[in-house]
Symmetry: C2
Subunit: 553 residues, 2 copies
C-alpha cells in the first residue's frame, strides 16, 4: 500500500497526554468529586435513569492504581459523521488497554452502531493499529448512522457482548450518540449485564459542548482546514480584486464552524444562524445587510469580498421556515399529483400562487427561479422539501444581486458585483488531525479505558483545561446524565444531551460582533494557511479562537 | 494589521538560492553558452525579432562579478492569474538589486500590465517588502489581465520608463505574458530605449514548460493544496462509503493539474483532456468509462469513489465542440430574437431540435436539462455559449447516473450511486508557497536581477535541475525567442511560446496509465495532507510527482 510522506511521518508522532496520565498505568488513581444532577428536569431524568443517575464526577490523579485486576474485553464503535482524530481515540484506548494487561482485547465494531447489532467486528492488534496512528478518517473500522435506541437493539447488544465476553463498550459520537450511550448504559445496569458504556465527544460541528465538555474533537482540525482554504480565497479576492466569494461551511443546526472560521480569517461578512433566528431576520434583511457591505466597499473602489454562510441558515429564517411548511402542506399526499400533472412551470407557478398564503408567496417570489423550482421538484420520499439541498450560498448571492440592481437604479450604488460560490464540508472531516486533536483524542481514548478499568458506567470521557498546554490538561469522567434535559423530539418528550448553539452573549460571538463592522467595510483578512504539524509551537499548537476566547485567553 | 501565526513564522524563512548564487553578488559571473534558435519557424521568428533573436543561453557561476557598475531602476509587473510564490519573485529581485547597490530602485506597477501604461506604481522599501516574504497572493501590487501587445502601448511604456529612468522591466506571467515580454524587449531594442525586459515563468496550470523551463512557479503549491483536500475527500469517501465525489480542478487548456493531483492521491478516475482529444472520445464513451469503475467497485461492495475532472475537458470532446459551434451559429445575430421570443422551454426545445444537425442533436439530447438550458440561456455578450460556465463535474455525474440506470435495467449493475460535487481552483492560487515555490521563486527573482545587471534583454529567468536540492540548482537565462513558434491565433499567424500540454507519451501520463486500472477498481487512495513548511525534509521539500517522473527520479 502506498502512503504519503506526511502519513509516514505522522506515524512517528507521540501524542501528548495530560500530565496526570503520564506516569504509567500503575500510577493513576481516582479522585471522586461531588454527586451530580442533570442540567434540567432532574426528577424526570432521575426516573428514567435509576441506576446511572446522580453518580459522582471523577478526575484522575497521580497515585497508586487501585482498580480491580480483571481481564477487559472492550468493544469500540464510531458513530455518525467523520471527525479528525477518531482514529486516535481508538489508539489511545488500545494503548491503555494493552499497557494495563497484554491479555486485554479490543474489538472494533464495523460501520457504526449497526456493527454491534450485526456482530460485525475485527480484533485490533499492534500492526493494524499502527497503520492508523495520527491519521484522519474513520476508515479504521468505518462509521454509520444507525441509532441504538430500542429495547430490541439493546437486548441484541447485550447478547453480542455476552458472546464475546465484552466488559465495556466505548461509543465515539455526537450528542445523539452519547444520549443513546447513556440509555444503553442504563439498560446494561438495569439488566445486570456487567457491561459498562463510556462515551467520547465527537463532532466537527462543535455543538456538543457544555460546562463539562470544553469542545468536541474534530472541530479544531475541521475549522482550521476550512479556514486555510477560506484564507487562500480571501487572498485571491484581494489580489484579483474582482469577485465576491460566497462560501458555505458545514453546520446545519449550529454556526460554531462559521463563527470560528470568521474569527480565524476576518471575512467581510459571516452570517450566524442563531442570530438570524433571534432577530427573526427576513431574507430581504439579510440580503440588505450583505449588500450594505458590497456597496460600502464598492464606494472605496473595492469590488470584491468574502462572505461565509453557515449551511443551515435558511432554516433559521422564520419566514422561510413558514414557506417550507406551507409547501409541504400544499403538496401533501395526493395533492402532489395535481401539481405534477401541470405541464409547464408557468402553470405550476400559478398553482403555487394560488395555494400559498400572501406572506409566503411574497417570500417565494423573491427567490431565484432555480431555487423556486428546486423547492417544488426535488422532494424527499415523504414529499417534503429537501431544505439541505438548497444552495444557500447561491440563494444569498442572487438576492444580493437583486438588491444591488435596485440600488443601482436608485443611484445609490455604482459598483460591479461578480459572485463565485464554494461549499466546504467534506474537505475537512477527514484531514490529518491537528496536534491538538491528535493529543486530545488520544487522551480521550486513554482516559476512556481508565474509566472502564475503574468500573464506571454511563460516563463521558472528559479532558479539560484544553486551552493550556497538554501537561496541564485535566482527565476524568462525567456521568452523561448530568448533561441531559427533556426535549420534545418527534412528538415525544425525550431525555437528551442539550445541543450547544452559538451563544449570542458568549465571548466568541461578542468578539465577532465588536469587529464585524470594521471587517465588512475594510479588508482585514487573515490568512491562517495550512495546518502545521511540525515547527514553532505558536504555529503548531494553537487552539481554536473559539476555545481561546471562551477560556478568556 | 492582524496576521496569522503561520504568516509571522514564514517571514523568518530564508529561501534557499541555487549554490552558485550563494557566494554574494561580487562572486557571480556569467558563462555564455551556445547561440540559440527558436523551436520552430526559425526564419519567421528571426525576422520578427531582428534585435533579440539568436542570443546565447547563459548560466551563472562562481567568479568575479564583471558587470558594469550602473544605477539600476527596475519596474516589476504581475500579469494574469495568481500563483503562489509571486511575492517571492519580487523579494528575490529586490534583495539582489539592493545588495548590488543600495541606490538601486525597484518600482512595482500596480494591478498588472495596465499599471505600466497608466503609470500607476509604488516604490518598494524594506518595510513594505518584508510584509510579503514567503506569503501567497499577488496583493503586494495586484495583478491584471491587460495584454501589452500594441505599438501604442509599447510607446507609452517607453515614455513611462524614460520618465522614471527605468533601466529594466521584469514581467512575471504565463506563456502569453512572456510572449508579450519578448515583443516588448524587441521594441525597446529596436528603438534604442536602453530598457531591458526579463520574464519569469508563472502559472499554476503548469503549461509553461519546455526543454528549458522545467516547471512554472505556483504549480507545486497549487497542485499540493488541491491534493490535500482531494485526499481528505478520498478519506471521507472511504470512511462513509456512500458517495461518489466528482471533483473539478482548474486547468482549461492543459490537464497538468488534474494529472498531478491524480498522481498524488490515486483516485478511482481522472480524465485527461489531451487523451480525450487524442482518442476523439464522445461524452457517452467517457460516461461509460466512469460507469465501468462505478459498477466494478459496486460489485465488490464499494458504492463510493472519487473522480477528478479537468476544468476544460468538455472543450476537448470533439462532438461537444461541434455542438457548441452549431449552437453559436443557430443563435448568431438576430436569430437569437426568434428563439428568445418562444415562451416555454418546450417550444424552445423544438426550435433547437429543428436547428441542430442530427449528430449534434443526439449529443444535446443526452445532456441533463439544466445544462441544456444553460447552453441556450446564458450566453456571453457576443451571443456565444459560455463553455467555461458549464459545470462539467455535474455533467459527467449526470451522464454516469443515466448509464447506471440503463445497466440496472439490463441487470448488469445493482449498486447505489450518490454523487457529490466539488470545484477547486481559487483555493490554491494564493496559498502560502511551499518551500519549493518559496525557494524557486526567490531564486527566479534574484536571478532576474543578475540578468539585468549583466545587460541581457528578452531573456527568461531560468532556474533548472529542480528535482535536486536547491544547492544543485542551475541559474541562468534563456532568450524567450528560443521557446517560440508561429501559431494561428484569432485568424493571424503570431509568434508565441508553445503551450505545453500533457504529453501522452511522457513519463507522468505513462505512470498514470500503467496504474489507473488498478486504481479504478480498488481503493488505492493516498492522503497527502496539508503542505508542511517545517519538519522532516522528506515531507517539506518534496517536488511534484510530475517533475520527479519527468526527471526520472
Amino acid at each position: 500500500m502506498e502512503i504519503s510522506a506526511l502519513q509516514k511521518a505522522r506515524y512517528e508522532y507521540a501524542p501528548k497526554l495530560p500530565g496526570m496520565l503520564r506516569h504509567g498505568i500503575a500510577d493513576i488513581c481516582v479522585k471522586e468529586g461531588e454527586e451530580t444532577q442533570s442540567v434540567a428536569d432532574q426528577e424526570k431524568i432521575k426516573a428514567l435513569f435509576p441506576n446511572t443517575y446522580g453518580k459522582k464526577e471523577i478526575t484522575f490523579q497521580k497515585g497508586a492504581n487501585t482498580s480491580v485486576a480483571k481481564k477487559q474485553v472492550v468493544g469500540v464503535i464510531l458513530s455518525g459523521g467523520q471527525a479528525p482524530g477518531g482514529h486516535n481515540v481508538i489508539c489511545g484506548l488500545y494503548d491503555a488497554l494493552k499497557a494495563t494487561n497484554p491479555e486485554n482485547v479490543l474489538y472494533g465494531f464495523k460501520n457504526g452502531p449497526s456493527g454491534l447489532i450485526e456482530d460485525d467486528y475485527l480484533v485490533f492488534d499492534d500492526e493494524y493499529i499502527n497503520a492508523y496512528r495520527n491519521t484522519g478518517g474513520f476508515d479504521i473500522i468505518g462509521s454509520g448512522r444507525t441509532k441504538l435506541e430500542t429495547q430490541e437493539q439493546f437486548a441484541i447488544a447485550a447478547e453480542v457482548c455476552k458472546k464475546h465476553g465484552i466488559t465495556a463498550i466505548v461509543i465515539i459520537g455526537g450528542d445523539d450518540s452519547n444520549t443513546n450511550a447513556a440509555v444503553l448504559a442504563e439498560y446494561f445496569a438495569a439488566n445486570n449485564t456487567g457491561v459498562q458504556v463510556i462515551g467520547c465527544p465527537k463532532t466537527i460541528d462543535g455543538d456538543l459542548k457544555n460546562e463539562d465538555i470544553e469542545c468536541s474533537f474534530g472541530f479544531d482540525t475541521a475549522a482550521k482546514t476550512y479556514s486555510e482554504v477560506i484564507g487562500n480565497i480571501e487572498r485571491d479576492a484581494n489580489s484579483a480584486k474582482k469577485y465576491w466569494h460566497f462560501i458555505k461551511v458545514m453546520g446545519r443546526s449550529a454556526s460554531h464552524v462559521a463563527l470560528e472560521c470568521a474569527l480565524e480569517t476576518q471575512p467581510n461578512i459571516c452570517l450566524i444562524s442563531e442570530e438570524v433566528a433571534a432577530k427573526k431576520m427576513s431574507l430581504s434583511q439579510i440580503a440588505d445587510y450583505i449588500a450594505d457591505s458590497v456597496a460600502k466597499r464598492a464606494a472605496k473602489g473595492m469590488n470584491f469580498g468574502v462572505a461565509i454562510i453557515p449551511e443551515g441558515v435558511v432554516e433559521f429564517v422564520p419566514e422561510f421556515s413558514a414557506l417550507i411548511a406551507e409547501i409541504n402542506e400544499l403538496l401533501a399526499g395526493s395533492k402532489a399529483d395535481a401539481f405534477n400533472a401541470l405541464p409547464t412551470w408557468k402553470e405550476k407557478y400559478a398553482f403555487i400562487e394560488n395555494g400559498l398564503s400572501k406572506e409566503s408567496m411574497a417570500v417565494f417570489a423573491i427567490l431565484p427561479e432555480g431555487i423556486q423550482q428546486q423547492l417544488f421538484l426535488e422532494r424527499d420520499p415523504h414529499g417534503n422539501v429537501q431544505v439541505s439541498l438548497i444552495e444557500s450560498e447561491k440563494l444569498f448571492s442572487a438576492l444580493v444581486a437583486d438588491k444591488l440592481a435596485e440600488r443601482k437604479a436608485a443611484g445609490t450604488y455604482n459598483g460591479k458585483f461578480n459572485a463565485l460560490h464554494h461549499f466546504f464540508g467534506y474537505e475537512g472531516r477527514c484531514a490529518f488531525p491537528s496536534n491538538f486533536d491528535s493529543d486530545y483524542c488520544y487522551s480521550l481514548g486513554y482516559n476512556a479505558f481508565m474509566l472502564i478499568q475503574y468500573g464506571y458506567n454511563g460516563y463521558l470521557s472528559k479532558v479539560s483545561n484544553l486551552s493550556k498546554p497538554a501537561a496541564e490538561w485535566v482527565a476524568g469522567g462525567m456521568p452523561i446524565t448530568k448533561m441531559m434535559n427533556m426535549e420534545r423530539r418527534h412528538g415525544e418528550d425525550k431525555p437528551v444531551i442539550r445541543k450547544a448553539l452559538v451563544e449570542l452573549d458568549g465571548k466568541p460571538f461578542k468578539y465577532f460582533e465588536a469587529h464585524r463592522e470594521e471587517w465588512s467595510e475594510n479588508t482585514c483578512y487573515v490568512y491562517p494557511g495550512a495546518i502545521q504539524y511540525y515547527g514553532p509551537a505558536e504555529v503548531c499548537d494553537i487552539t481554536t479562537k473559539t476555545l481561546a476566547l471562551e477560556k478568556g485567553e
